[in-house]
Amino acid sequence: MYLHEPKLFDVVKRQFIYKMSANATPFTMLVILQIISLVLLSGSMGSPDPFYDHNNIAYTINAFSNDGILGLTWFWAAVFGFLLTSLAQRDEAFSFVTNRLSHHLANFFVMLSAALFGGLSAVLSGSIIKLYAFLRYGEVIMETTGLLTAPMDFILRLVTAVLYTLLFLVIAYTIGTFIQVNRFFIFLFGALWMLLIRSISSSHGESFTGKIFHFFAGETSTSLFILKMIMTVVVLCTISITISNRLEVRK
């Protein structure tokens, strides 16, 4: 029988499609999570007691934010990234044609899709909140801008949300890969986590965690920020591929 010489790109593409349909549930979960938090947020939009200025004009201030949805999306991203490294996911991939590289590359494309989907939907949910607030209260002062008022700003917000979601996915994925290579990394990461928490609570000013935070969040140049994000993702992905390239499967 004649041998087939597959191209890496084709295998990655097939694995990507397979993994996307295999992981339909996490995506559905995110949509449900976001809808629930939207409903909760809009439910909290009650009218607080108005206050009056010296002209006796009544002011009612309602502050709405989609920060909660973004936070939830990032939490989801971390869980999903970790889930992608599970033994079951690996065995499922190796039921069909793949090697370790194509398996990881397909996973990265899944994460990229998840980041796009999660980041975009989180930001857009903010627009839904605005729309809701506008319809309900009529007059609203928007702090953040929309696509029409300041398109660049809006797009930048989208890009930032997507990149952060991707970062959370990839960090969790890398941690998960380490743990798949050797279970003892659970303890190492546990210890690291404790250290991070302590450094946040104990030190004032420039803690290690603070420095990491500023490395990304403190970056004022858009292009530098994007570059930093992408570099970090690429480095983390390379680490995942390198450490697990000798990993035995379906043992």
């Binding site: 295998v11 349909s21 295999a22 044609v97 793949t98």
Partner: protein, 297 residues
């Protein structure tokens, strides 16, 4: 033409030696049975050939390439066992569709007919199939994918007798129509010996015998008769197995008798008969420490 080559291959799991200097050449387009007692390294060998597990030492070549982490090997080799995993969300129908995308030789019409014949519901979930049903479904994938090398690891576990017969028949018919290299491991050698061209007996992590089923069968001859006469008849020959039942003693002896020698044995009232391939296998793999009867002795 060689499809698979293993040269002095060892595999260590922690301290346990699963394979210990295995030397095997599997011919291309031959259906080979991999047999041996539990835990002798059959599965380990097949998972190495599939590229899942890496050899500790030695060399493996599958279609001329080292299989571990090899995309070409993965595309042309299919490993079928009861632990094949598919995503929870996917129905059997979805899985067959994925097979179609991944395997260029996939015969979707055949897969559909087999799935229907064996009474599967296409919207069922793989995970919730019974053990026998799961293995039947996996075996269908193995047949319909028509990979250049297909490895079936204990495919018939849990299948009832009728399904086992049908599976062997389906595999044979498809093999006749599309000859390819097939490895089939099982404990039930007697069920599949007719199906096979070659047998590979693994014992203690090594190849104990590798040749055609006929060679295995003709390696030994069964002699029945008086114990003393047997002893003189088999002088100078390797006696593989001895069993005494009633007044008769049965010996399985290496088959190097000439026609004249056999005639002489006959006149001494020794009954010489061919042995089945399965008896030859059982005799060859008999533990040196004796049989189960010795435990109760």
């Amino acid at each position: 033409m060689t499809a698979v080559e293993l040269m002095n291959v060892t595999k260590k799991y922690h301290k346990h030696l699963a394979l210990n200097g295995l030397d095997v050449n599997i011919k291309k387009d031959v259906m080979t049975g991999v047999i041996g007692r539990n835990g002798v390294g059959k599965t380990t060998m097949m998972k190495m050939i599939a590229g899942f597990v890496q050899e500790t030492s030695g060399t493996i070549r599958v279609f001329g390439e080292s299989p571990f982490n090899n995309l070409t090997v993965s595309a042309n080799v299919l490993f079928v066992d009861d632990a094949m995993q598919f995503a929870q969300t996917m129905s059997l129908h979805d899985i067959l569709k994925e097979c179609k995308r991944f395997y260029p030789n996939w015969d979707h019409a055949l897969a559909d007919r087999l799935v229907q014949y064996f009474g599967f519901h296409l919207d069922a979930r793989h995970r919730y199939l019974s053990k026998g049903k799961k293995n039947t479904f996996n075996a269908i994938i193995g047949i319909a994918a028509r990979c250049a090398l297909t490895l079936f690891d204990e495919p018939i576990t849990g299948m009832d007798a009728g399904v086992r017969k049908d599976f062997y028949r389906a595999l044979l018919k498809d093999y006749i129509a599309h000859p390819r290299t097939i490895l089939l491991s099982s404990h039930h050698f007697e069920e599949m010996e007719d199906l096979l061209e070659d047998v590979l007996i693994i014992q203690n992590g090594k190849a104990h015998f590798h040749g055609s089923v006929t060679e295995l069968q003709e390696m030994l001859i069964s002699l029945k008769g008086n114990g003393e006469i047997l002893a003189s008849a088999a002088a100078g020959k390797t006696v593989v197995y001895q069993q005494k039942s009633g007044p008769y003693t049965e010996w399985l002896v290496e088959n190097t008798f000439t026609a004249a020698e056999l005639d002489r044995l006959k006149s001494k009232r020794v009954i010489a008969t061919p042995v089945s391939a399965n008896s030859a296998y059982l005799a060859l793999t008999e533990q040196r420490t004796g049989g189960i009867d010795d435990v109760f002795a």
